[in-house]
């Protein structure tokens, strides 16, 4: 194979790979049936005050576990929603737990949390925790965890506030019928965990 042929072959392979890497198309948000849910992997990280946070500390609560970063535009949109969820549902056994994936750690994250007046707990994530949750690369990626510590739904990318609200309500009161999902402005992918 001569040089032009080699370059041509490389270009074809590159294009094929780029095409194959395209993410899945949008899928509706939905809470999985309780029988098919898998346990959310436990982890131990520090919060902004240096206190140890374990996911198992939240057992008995519905948890919105949100992987995000300060440089992530879609994550910025969700923060006011999550602040509202934290306030509205806290007394019903709900908590938001943010996992910041900034390489610069607290140096980047602390000023951002202060700027955005984040009212929920945030930890700085690690590669190990990312791997536990399927090598989180796209941000935001959010796991909604039921009271038994099982993953009820996963959302890769931005979904609507209404979809999150509906899922949280479903998990807080599982006997109530689910509300009709809101029409998303930008539906994310409901990954098959």
């Amino acid at each position: 194979m001569n040089r032009p042929q080699l370059l041509g072959a490389a270009a074809i392979v590159s294009l094929a790979v780029l095409t194959s890497c395209m993410p899945e198309q949008s899928v509706r948000a939905a809470v999985k049936d309780s029988k098919t849910r898998k346990a959310a992997p436990d982890f131990t990280l520090k919060d902004a005050n240096g206190k140890t946070v374990k996911l198992t500390d939240y057992k008995g609560k519905v948890v919105l576990l949100n992987f995000w970063a300060t440089w992530c535009g879609p994550c910025k949109i969700e923060i006011p929603w999550f602040k509202e969820f934290e306030t509205t549902y806290k007394n019903q056994g709900f908590a938001v737990l943010g996992v910041a994936m900034d390489d610069d750690g607290w140096d980047a994250v602390k000023p951002y949390l202060a700027d955005k007046e984040v009212n929920y707990r945030v930890v700085v994530g690690t590669e190990q925790v990312s791997l536990l949750y399927g090598d989180v690369e796209s941000l935001p990626t959010t796991f909604v965890i039921d009271r038994e510590g099982r993953i009820a739904s996963v959302h890769v990318g931005l979904i609507s506030k209404g979809d999150y609200t509906n899922e949280i309500k479903q998990l807080l009161s599982p006997d109530k019928p689910a509300e009709k999902p809101a029409t998303p402005t930008a539906a994310g992918t409901n990954a098959g965990y």
Binding site: M1, A10, A16, M22, S26, M101, L158
Partner: protein, 151 residues
Amino acid sequence: MRVISLLLAVSALMQAQTITMMLTPPMSVTAKRGATVAVKVQARLRDGYHCNTNTPSDEYLIPLKLTWTAPGSLQVADVKYPKGTMEKYPFSEKPLSVYSGVFDIVTDFKVPSDAKPGQSTIAGKVRYQACDDRACYPPKTLEVQVPVIIE
């Protein structure tokens, strides 16, 4: 056979992470001593993706930046980034200053009059952070190498 194996290996490596940008530097550049030479690096973003320009709209966004880490005997005079476009995305309250598709980053190098004639390679890196219309990907750094012939 070795070529196919190499291509398959490259393909596997590229699939390991989301590849959002490819760089095409010039095959080689000829520079005359005492003159200025422009080096154009072409960047190509994957369809459906964008990255922040060198001057993002928000203080928290990560700018695209080309840094020449090993310019050899050449002196970086100016790195010229394209203007980009202002785009509105479902996740942004305001339009963002972004690049998408194909764009060029042009660096002007001064060639000292006492530069040693001959062939060498200069090297740099492009740091960027890409998103699609609903998710973002961690900042990445791509290496750039350009063979330079000084006359």
